[in-house]
């Protein structure tokens, strides 16, 4: 199974491009998609899920152009859009029955999968309740249940953990990892730890362009050995910001802990610390020319 894009572009206005020249190759496994707001993640996902037509380029599923033959993807797709809606007067079970019919599942298979997805998303006790009584987090889990319902070969999920409490977030991440075998999963999120703990490769978009697409470890290697932390007086934070890529600041009683990326220790008291994917992501976005 392979999802590919070739010079994919989407133009919204005369000089406004949602994405431009995106060339990707995604094999089985989880692929994280990161980028700042407006980077083009949702546009890319819209095209991959066939709800949007590209202006330039093409996308292929196992060699078949999905812009020409969208049904190739639609038959094996699980999709959780960022703006996910439900029918408020249906119960959870009725809604999943509806999705199963849309996704082409046979009755018996649908019944079995509905049971499993309700348990997977921990919604057993509310299965007979109308969706309008669900909280935001519960609705998000309904979205995840419907996306996984047809055991999709291609799963595209946009911000799946938004609105979930930490415990449910971990459970969802486990669910994605445990069900990712034999399928291509495209996971778009702002929450870097979600990608760090689940994804095999990471694609970073910025301003509609692909900054990098590489295994998570390779992206992490970019900054390994270059991340430092030190505690400085508040007035010294600004000069450090001017000179180095500051990843985070935490105010403490004895000053401000500054985490930054530098080739050499930025101050005499700076300690080298373990790099995280968030450090690497910030480095990629702020210095795309070095990727």
């Amino acid at each position: 199974m392979k999802l590919q894009t070739e010079n994919l572009g989407k133009q919204y206005g005369d000089d406004v491009w949602g994405i431009r020249d995106i060339t990707l190759e995604l094999d089985e496994g989880i692929h994280g998609l990161l980028g700042p707001n407006g980077a083009g993640k949702s546009t890319l996902m819209g095209i991959l899920s066939t709800v949007m037509q590209p202006t330039t380029g093409a996308a292929y599923w196992n060699g078949t152009d999905i812009t020409e033959s969208p049904d190739v993807v639609r038959s094996i797709l699980g999709y959780l859009p960022q703006q996910f809606g439900t029918y408020p007067d249906l119960t959870l079970e009725e809604f999943l029955e509806y999705v199963a019919a849309l996704r082409g599942l046979a009755s018996e298979t649908a019944s079995a999968r509905i049971e499993e997805m309700i348990e997977l998303t921990n919604l057993v006790q509310v299965r007979d309740r109308k969706l309008k009584t669900f909280s935001g987090g519960m609705r998000q889990r309904v979205g995840i249940a419907q996306a996984l319902l047809n055991d999709p070969k291609l799963l595209i999920v946009d911000e799946p953990t938004v609105g979930l409490d930490p415990e449910e977030r971990v459970r969802l991440r486990n669910a994605l990892v445990n069900t990712a075998t034999d399928r291509v999963v495209v996971l778009s999120t702002h929450i870097v730890p979600d990608v760090e703990s689940t994804a095999e490769t990471l694609a970073i978009l910025d301003d509609g362009r692909l900054v990098t697409h590489a295994p998570v470890d390779d992206v992490l290697d970019r900054v390994t050995g270059r991340v430092y932390e030190c505690v400085v007086p508040p007035e010294e934070v600004a000069p450090l910001r001017d000179e180095f890529q500051v990843c985070s600041t935490v105010r403490r009683s004895d000053g401000v802990t500054v985490r930054m990326i530098a080739e050499e220790p930025p101050t005499e008291t700076a300690d080298r610390v373990s790099a995280t994917l968030e450090d690497a992501y910030l480095d990629c976005v702020d210095h795309p020319e070095t990727v």
Partner: protein
């Protein structure tokens, strides 16, 4: 005041940047053409030896101005409400209402701003009509083109109507049970009823028309009567039959109106419309719930509150098992899906029918049940004739084909309204889903008409039966087509109500799509509408195909 201005400005900008407004303005501009070429006419009906004759004014700037003014007032009275009535809903759709609710902006200021925005929309519509009228008078008019004479009546007649309708639309939005299809239907009758006072002027000259009738004249037809009657008398001496008719009239004789002095009572009467406008706007602050849907549970009424206490729907934010109590994912096994092409259209149809029927209030189902049971009881073999068959045809048929409008108005817009479009469009059954949605609407229509169908079958009323079948097909088809193309239920509600009012309710044979009159079935009107239904479904499918790319 500054805050109200900014509420109005933001809302108004959102409106004028909509493509739908361009369509509305194009239609209004077309009216500006029609008033200049006689497509929209203002004419007195005179009794001649060979029957009634329509006498209209020649298209001088002054006469076209009066027609333009009345046209603007009529457009705002009948269509303005439907164009204006989503101003609060728009804020709720984009969660702006929470932002507003968390500020110190008072309900009055917020609603006043919204009213100004509604009024701004009315002004834009009137400007389009005014410009079109002036331009078309240059091309088609008689005599010199006087911009003031052409546009002045718009300000006097139509603008106050805009102010009043702007307030009414806002009020309807703030009252829970008036917000939506029920309110849209209710307003249609309210607007129609508002013209009822004109009948008091029949057979009278302007000076003998009672004061209350003048006060209650929303469009300004009595003012036009007073302004033009002297010019008419020059051609038709002694006329005293009442105000001129206004609409698409075929006129055969003419009189010349080149303007006259406007009596001051006309300005006072038009300005008076602002009084109910302000009163209604003030009244809207009472039911207005600035928290929107968050306050829903408090607005459901006693029946809703009882239902809320039942175990089925207990609590809006019920609890499920904490994640820690759930079975570990590693311990779960999942069914493998091999066949993803086994979707059953019947399951889809069942789901769509369920979606169509669900979510109404108890009284809707009670009335729908009565509309089925009454004709059924009439059809029973033991002779309990609750309603004679003829009366059933004239009374129950129109009722059966208006009541489900609450359900049909969802067709074609449901997915967009509930943000499930992506879910449907990424499936392989997007076209089948639309067909199932339509058939769900047809099933509802057939269910609502089932009592009548049994009655007409058992009494051998074949023509009436065909009319009902036509209605069963046509109503959901129109809803689906207009819903998919306009992405709103309002257009369907407006068009369907007009058709239903003119045809099934008032016996206009040419548009009696349900065969409530014997004339219409004799003319084959239901057959034509049944055929039109197929075209409408085709149009909806075409739209879906276009959307799928």
């Amino acid at each position: 005041m500054r805050r109200a201005y900014h509420v109005a400005r933001a809302d108004f900008l959102q409106r004028v940047r909509s493509r739908k407004l361009l369509v509305v303005l194009a239609v209004v501009a077309y009216f500006g053409y029609l008033v200049n070429v006689g497509g929209i006419e203002l004419a007195y009906q005179i009794e001649r030896a060979n029957g009634l004759s329509n006498v209209h004014g020649t298209n001088t700037a002054e006469f076209v101005g009066l027609k333009t003014g009345l046209t603007g007032a009529a457009v705002l009275l009948f269509a303005g409400f439907y164009l204006m009535n989503a101003t609060i809903a728009r804020d709720r759709q984009y969660d702006l209402h929470r932002l507003v609710a968390s500020t110190t902006v008072s309900n009055w200021t917020y609603l006043f701003g919204k009213w100004l925005s509604n009024l701004g929309l009315a002004v834009v519509i009137l400007i389009a009509l005014g410009v079109a009228s002036v331009v078309n008078h240059l091309v088609h008019g008689v005599g010199p083109t006087e911009p003031l004479a052409l546009v002045g009546p718009l300000v006097v007649f139509a603008l106050p109507v805009g102010a009043l309708v702007a307030a009414v639309a806002l009020f309807f939005e703030t009252v829970d049970w008036l917000d939506g299809t029920g309110g849209n239907i209710g307003y249609f009758f309210l607007a129609t009823f508002a013209l009822a006072g004109l009948s008091a002027a029949d057979g009278r000259l302007p000076e003998s028309i009672p004061m209350w009738a003048r006060v209650m004249d929303p469009l300004g037809q009595l003012a036009v009567y007073e302004l033009t009657v002297d010019a008419l008398h020059a051609t038709v001496p002694g006329y005293h039959g009442g105000p001129p008719s206004f609409g698409t009239l075929r006129a055969t004789e003419t009189f010349v109106y080149t303007g006259s002095t406007w009596p001051s009572w006309i300005f006072a009467q038009r300005a008076w419309l602002l009084v109910p406008a302000i009163a209604i706007l003030s009244a809207a602050t009472i039911p207005f719930d600035r928290l929107g849907s968050e306050g829903e549970s408090g607005r459901r009424g006693w029946f809703g509150r009882v239902l809320e206490r039942l175990p089925y729907s207990a609590g809006a934010e019920g609890h499920d098992a904490p994640a820690s109590d759930a079975r570990p994912i590693e311990a779960m096994s999942f069914t493998t899906v091999e066949n993803r092409d086994a979707g059953s259209f019947w399951r889809l149809l069942r789901a769509e029918t369920r979606l169509t029927v669900r979510g109404r209030r108890w009284w809707w189902y009670a009335v729908a049940g009565a509309l089925v049971l009454v004709p059924l009881a009439t059809a029973l073999p033991f002779g309990v004739e609750i309603v004679p068959v003829d009366l059933a045809r004239r009374l129950l048929v129109p009722l059966v084909f208006i009541w489900p409008i609450f359900l049909w108005s969802d067709l074609g817009v449901r997915a967009a309204r509930h943000r499930t479009t992506d879910l449907i469009f990424t499936s392989r059954y997007a076209a089948g889903q639309l067909l199932a949605e339509w058939l769900g609407g047809v099933a509802v229509a057939a269910g609502a008409a089932s009592g009548l169908i049994v009655l007409f079958v058992t009494t051998g009323q074949t023509a009436a039966l065909l009319g009902v079948v036509s209605g069963v097909l046509f109503a959901p088809s129109l809803a689906l087509a207009l819903g998919t193309w306009s992405r709103s239920s309002t257009l369907f509600e407006m068009v369907y109500l007009l058709l239903w009012y003119a045809g099934p309710l008032n016996g206009g044979s040419a548009v009696d799509f349900v065969g409530a009159t014997t004339d219409s079935t004799a003319m084959g009107v239901p057959f034509a509408f049944a055929g039109l239904s197929l075209l409408l479904v085709g149009a909806a499918m075409l739209r879906r195909r276009h959307e799928l790319g």
